[in-house]
Symmetry: C2
Subunit: 427 residues, 2 copies
């Protein structure tokens, strides 16, 4: 096949898709990158947008801008709703189809409520910029409502926060929220003491950060408790509504519940018709393609692949490695060579907890506390796209950690000019 | 009256209201500041948020945070819907009432469509953070739609922008939008040339920036045209719909129309029952109070007051002076002294146009071009609240002016996960 005619369609501009597009620079192929959103999002810092430490543009950059110098790439803002493997084309929500020679599916994952989709409106999750801005508004307004009410029962419910799921996102949110209540909002209210807010981190499993070894898990838990988080493990939530949640036999009134418990792969995975795992991730071979279609790659959180008996984790470094691999495999095939086998390189497991606290597990190295936090910060800021963003994020962080202030505490009103207190059922 | 029992209610946390609250520090009175929004907004830079140069938190700070050390101030997030002068109380949207001893009304102004409210959905204005984020999305999506369509007529309509009204906001928006089309988006699109976008600034009156002397108006027009803006004066718009607008006899297809033509005072002005001018501003005496109510002040854009036969302009420095004056008048009355007369000090008329271009008129001084721009920048950044904000805004500006990049080009998706192309009628 003529290389210049080879059309690579990449669906999803996250870590996997964007890395693949960049790695196909000068490959002599045409590339179309399709995303529903106009920006690449640095998802590991999204919890900072939700907790008003960063503004959305600090961690998001327009895909067109990132790829503007790469003449072989077309960025298309649109939504892919299906794949026709026989015709080698993707179907767009706008009704059109687009042919591909190689297809890279990297549409990531979304929340899973384990069959309780009715919980979604009461316990929003955190995956997109929109989610983060909604959650920021919800968190800030809860303190406003507590200040405004004269009813002590109402007030307690507004000052009761629950984060469900103690993976990295849940731990980050709980730690930061406790910090906001205890320090950031200090002396700003006249009728309530924000420090009296209860921040609960609820986990159905036996421990927080289950992907870490037990001793680091213990350290993480101790650090969370020092920040003022109540950690409840081995306690599944059995019901959530607008006014609270049920924990075993007890109904706990709480107006702010955040879902960080489960993810499922983007529905495009199932739409492919190839075998998927329980979470909807597409089972791919050691070359990250689906059976019978050597030109259809599935990457990042959408892919289920194991190595040495261990699943490759759904984290940014793994997604980037998959993107780089897929580009290399396409280049090899166009040269008529067999593609290499994907080999995941583990750069460790990192989680931050809050003010100067983190845990890091990397081979035989286990770190926690301040040192781990510095490592976490360096790694995350280094990988942010764009010099300006790194600079702004570091500045914001430095200011926030010196002063406990958070720069982005803006509640943008609804365009309708509606009152700014959320109604029951609002997300 | 016992000073500690004196309750000052301030409605509106803009320049007038916030300045008054601060000036009442240590006055020995109780102060309640009521606002529908949780933040003070530095409105003179709002056009930068709309044009993706700044993020909203860069120019907005939580009122609670600004006033946290002032123990005599309570910040209340809520909406005042009426004033009962007889009972000396304000009515809140939540249904409650609040008594005052002194009342300061400073709820500002909003857009006026001169009786054509049906234009509002097609030609949004720019007054709030929500307006700015909506407008940013509209502007960025217009280029995406132009890139996506195959129909040349559609494409032209998407690349046709109109700003209606050539006051300071209209001029700033038109200049910045032309800069985005010609420079910022350069080489990011593959099918359209963003520089081919037509940016029209349409004014019913005879000249742009009518509050400036004619020679500076001429300079401003020349600077706009150099940036690529088509300036049409003496041309009233007679119709606006989702697909374009009518200019005299000609219907011009345009998918993006922005309203910067008229303002009217907040409806709370009329609700007071005191005489108002044509724009709904409350006519106040030389002590900024309404007739018969020496304890009811009206401040900022909501007030109509003249001095030496000239109306005091609706700009931030005037609002701040009014706020400071009202605080001084209350202090004087509590000491049993007659209040001073309000005297507006004119610090000049400033307007920025775009890249290193501005006009300044201050007494006999008339500046334009680069020098005026530096003056404008210095004055505006100096008055921004908070060291961090000044620093971030200056950094953003420096980066934007060296590189033409704009930092905040994020289109946040709708929470519903709806497709990201606006439908007809969306604002």
């Amino acid at each position: 096949m003529n290389r210049a005619d080879h059309h690579v369609v990449i669906v999803g501009g996250g870590f996997a898709g964007l890395t693949a597009a960049r790695a196909l620079d000068l490959a002599g192929v045409r590339v179309t990158l399709i995303d529903r959103r106009n920006h690449h999002l640095f998802q590991p810092l999204l919890y900072q947008v939700a907790t008003a430490g960063l503004s959305a543009p600090d961690i998001a950059a327009p895909l067109r801008h990132i790829l503007r110098r790469q003449a072989n790439v077309v960025v298309h803002l649109g939504e892919v709703v299906g794949v026709d493997l026989g015709a080698a084309s993707v179907r767009l929500a706008a009704g059109t189809a687009m042919k591909y020679d190689s297809l890279l599916l990297a549409t990531g994952a979304t929340h899973s409520y384990f069959g309780h989709d009715e919980w979604a409106e009461h316990a929003p999750g955190l995956k997109t910029v929109g989610d983060a801005l909604d959650l920021r508004q919800k968190l800030l307004l809860a303190f406003e409502r507590a200040e405004a009410t004269d009813d002590p029962v109402e007030r307690t419910a507004w000052l009761s926060f629950a984060i469900i799921g103690a993976g990295p996102t849940g731990v980050e949110l709980a730690g930061t929220l406790a910090e906001i209540a205890r320090h950031t909002l200090k002396s700003e209210f006249r009728r309530i003491d924000p420090a009296s807010a209860r921040v609960r981190l609820i986990e159905a499993g036996e421990r927080v950060l289950p992907s870490f070894p037990p001793d680091l898990t213990q350290k993480a838990r101790a650090q969370l408790e020092r920040l003022g988080v109540e950690v409840l493990t081995g306690r599944p939530v059995t019901h959530i509504d607008a006014n609270g949640y049920r924990l075993g036999e007890t109904y706990v009134p709480a107006r702010t519940v955040v879902w960080a418990a489960g993810v499922q792969a983007s529905p495009l995975g199932r739409a492919l018709g190839s075998p998927v795992d329980r979470a909807g991730r597409v089972q791919v071979g050691p070359d990250l393609t689906i059976p019978g279609h050597q030109n259809v790659f599935v990457l990042g959180d959408l892919a289920s692949v194991s190595q040495n008996g261990k699943p490759v984790p759904g984290i940014a470094p793994a997604a980037k490695q998959m993107g780089r691999y897929a580009a290399a495999a396409i280049r090899a095939r166009l040269r008529g060579q067999p593609p290499p086998t994907f080999r995941y390189r583990d750069f460790g497991n990192w989680a931050t907890i809050g003010r100067m606290a983190a845990v890091v597990h990397f081979g035989r190295i286990k770190l926690y506390g301040l040192l781990a936090w510095w490592g976490w910060l360096a790694a995350h800021v280094f990988f942010l796209i764009g010099f300006r963003n790194r600079f702004v994020v570091l500045t914001n962080w430095a200011m926030a950690y010196w002063t406990y202030r958070r720069a982005a505490r803006v509640i943008a009103e609804q365009p309708s000019g509606a009152p700014h207190f959320p109604q029951k059922g609002d997300t």
